[in-house]
């Protein structure tokens, strides 16, 4: 399951972050395997989404979120 398909406020743990060639931006911003996160709100039309990482809010597009593999719990 990937980050873009989550329901609001569902706690998940990151399994892996796929590289899309260009950038490791997502990892730089604190999305690394083992981290617990949740989607807390979405922009109008459901994209981009906002993720809670230890109380800080990261926004990213669904397209980028689909690179983040997660599991519930």
């Amino acid at each position: 399951m990937t980050l873009d398909s989550l329901k609001l406020n569902q706690q998940v743990t990151i399994l892996s972050v796929t590289e899309n060639g260009l950038t490791s931006k997502l990892t730089d911003m604190g999305l690394y395997p083992g981290k617990t996160i949740s989607v807390i709100f979405k922009a109008p039309f459901g994209d981009p989404i906002a993720v809670d990482i230890d109380g800080y809010t990261l926004s990213l597009r669904k397209e980028e979120a689909s690179l983040v593999e997660v599991q519930i719990g």
Partner: protein, 654 residues
């Protein structure tokens, strides 16, 4: 000693820089406010030190133009800005992510001090940080808790920074990745693995350092609540539009009385000079050239102050980042990014900082399109032109609760915005790029703006505006006045002699008027204006407007000053007539109809809305794109767009 400030975006580097140097660089609650390096001096007991404020970066591997600046300095030990010492500014309320960059910097082998900023926010979140433990687990690094907002801990930070014994950390946090002035790893995959490794180690350390005290969690809860409303699918947009409406209303309505006040003040100043100084060239230069020219600039201080105040509040409150978030999806079809919204909004104040702000857009194509279209947003220099022309040609009436003149101003802003979106859409097809578009951005906490910061910022902006624009307008007014008062040879004299002398006493005023206008017509500037008349007649303009177009080629705000100068030289100076009253009386010599009517007035506004009349903007575009091609293209396309749109407007309305 050279000291650099390095840290994540929005961690408070510039706030600390301002505290250390006493300068007033721009701060804002938005990741990516500082996009260029800025230097200043720190004076301490043992001499002064160079402090360098840098753009924020999340890691030493740059992803954007502004992050590249940090990378370039730190990866090259022969760089003139290569620091002897680094202060890493970390947001204590979000330590894990901030420490990633810190551990990278620490491995560079430059003496480093860790400033834990935002200690107040960390406390509000119930985080108790064991600084000693942190220092110990990081291998003995100096850790100083600070609060850049109220200045707590700054003395200690300075003392630790300039202290003699700052030694580098002996063991690398992650071995083999960085060496003094040299980055070892160039494979992106390996870079990412190392970032993940650093995060795991940091996470391990923080378990011993941070204790989460039970709080009511009310701060986070309130933040989340606010976001639910502000980013709501419907409420969010309603709120955004309401915010914009309030800004326009304020600029239009609140600024009215101080503007009237300034206007009358300058008018009576001119009068006073005329009445109290001996008649002559100097007096008329002062009364008809310099004072109206200066008045033409100063009158816009109230509007510009309000505009900058609102933009400051949008940024400082954290709302601007949310605007990026909710607008992203809508900007994409135009080849833009949510981040383009910031340059577009601040372009309403001035295109120059707005174009600099595009540095935070990762994707080059999106950044370039944003640069190309931002000058179409109606900047504050256009405001004087709109205000004058609206007062001249739009009736002072109301439809229901809305004043026609206010609606006309709003329409001008919308025309600018639509023009920008349209141009963006076209550029999307012209500019080619392979790079992927993305948006990954921190949404900072909402925060109450600091009112004394607002005051300082506004003072800076207004001062700059008055001095920069003032200098230009002042000198152009003088040049224009000279060119309007003298002509080649005795051409003016000859033309005047051809006018029949008045026979009756009551013809004298009419005669004087004629003399004045014939003189202006035959002056240098009159000849120039007449020469370009054929090109602008289809737009509904006369040669006086032609002159204003020429003089405002380099800076559009010169328009009003030019008009003021032309109309005070051209007419015998009537007692207390304002510029608007004089312009309103201007008639077409052939038809006898007013020159400034609805059609020509709106056509002129449309021209100013689209035309690229700003040398400074072109210079910044050249600097940001590093190719002549882009500013030239911008100049050409905007001028063509302005001419065509004005032509169509006039031909339809006349």
């Amino acid at each position: 000693m050279k000291i650099s400030l390095v840290g994540n975006p929005n961690s408070g580097k510039t706030s600390i820089f301002n505290r250390l140097t006493g300068l007033n660089q721009k701060i804002g609650n938005f990741p990516g406010v500082t996009v260029d390096k800025k230097s200043g001096l720190l004076k301490s007991k043992d001499g002064s030190h160079h402090i360098l404020d840098l753009p924020g970066t999340y890691s030493l591997y740059p992803k954007t133009q502004d992050e590249q600046i940090v990378h370039d300095i730190l990866s090259d030990s022969s760089h003139p800005d290569y620091p002897d010492r680094i202060i890493v500014v970390a947001d204590a309320s979000n330590l894990e992510r901030n420490l990633l960059l810190f551990t990278q910097v620490m491995d560079l082998g430059i003496p480093v001090i860790l400033a834990l900023n935002m200690s107040d926010i960390a406390a509000k979140k119930g985080l108790v940080i064991d600084y000693k433990k942190l220092s110990e687990l990081l291998g003995g690094v100096k850790v100083v808790p600070v609060n850049a907002r109220n200045g707590q801990g700054m003395d200690q930070l300075i003392a630790e920074t300039v202290a003699e014994d700052t030694s580098t950390v002996k063991t690398a946090f992650v071995a083999g990745e960085f060496e003094k002035g040299h980055f070892q790893i160039s494979d992106p995959h390996r870079q990412k693995q190392l970032v993940e490794e650093r995060y795991r180690k940091i996470n391990g350390i923080l378990k011993f350092v941070i204790k989460q005290e039970p709080t009511k969690r009310s701060m986070l809860k309130r933040q989340r609540m606010a976001d639910k409303i502000i980013t709501h699918p419907i409420l969010g947009f309603v709120l955004f539009i309401a915010v914009l409406m309030v800004i326009f209303q304020a600029i239009y309505a609140w600024a009215e009385w101080p503007m009237d006040l300034i206007d009358t003040l300058f008018l009576s100043l001119s009068q006073w000079v005329i009445n109290h100084m001996p008649e002559g060239v100097l007096t008329s230069l002062i009364a008809e050239g310099i004072i109206p020219g200066l008045g033409g600039v100063l009158i816009f201080i109230p509007q510009i102050t309000l505009l900058f105040a609102f933009i400051f509040i949008l940024e400082e409150s954290g709302y601007m980042a949310r605007v990026v978030f909710i607008m992203d999806k809508m900007m994409r079809p135009f080849g833009l990014n949510g981040r383009s919204v910031v340059p577009l909004i601040s372009g309403v104040a001035c295109a120059i900082p707005a174009i600099m702000a595009t540095r935070t857009i990762e994707n080059w194509k999106e950044r370039l399109i944003t640069i190309m279209v931002t000058p179409l947003m109606s900047c504050s220099a256009r405001l004087p032109v709109y205000t004058l022309l609206i007062a001249l040609v739009i009736p002072d009436q109301a439809i229901g609760p809305f004043k026609l003149q206010g609606l006309a101003l709003l329409a001008m802003y919308l025309i600018g915005l639509l023009g920008a979106l349209l141009a963006a859409f076209v550029f999307k097809w012209i500019i080619k790029a392979k790079q992927k578009s993305f948006l990954v951005m921190e949404l900072p906490y909402y925060r109450m703006p600091r009112w004394n910061n607002l005051a300082i910022t506004l003072w800076e902006k207004v001062r700059l505006f008055v001095f920069d624009a003032g200098k230009v307008i002042f000198s152009i007014s003088i040049i224009l006045w000279v060119l309007a008062s003298y002509g080649p040879g005795d051409r003016i004299q000859q033309a005047v002699e051809k006018i029949p002398e008045p026979v009756h006493q009551e013809d004298v005023t009419a005669y004087e008027k004629k003399v004045a206008s014939v003189s202006l017509s035959n002056s240098y500037i009159g000849i120039l204006g007449h020469a370009m008349e054929p090109a602008i007649r289809p737009l509904g303009y006369n040669w006086q407007i032609g002159i204003a177009l020429i003089t405002s080629f380099a800076a559009r705000e010169v328009f009003v000053g030019s008009m003021a100068t032309i109309y005070s030289v051209g007419e015998t100076f009537e007692a207390d007539e304002t510029l608007i009253q004089r312009m309103r009386k201007e008639q077409n010599p052939v038809t006898g109809l007013p020159v400034y009517n609805l059609a020509s007035g709106i056509s002129l506004m449309v021209f100013y809305a689209f035309a690229m009349q700003c040398m400074s903007t072109l210079a910044v575009v050249l600097r940001e794109t590093k190719k002549w091609k882009w500013p030239l293209l911008q100049l050409v396309y905007m001028t063509a767009m302005a001419y065509l749109a004005a032509l169509i407007t006039y031909q339809i309305l006349k």
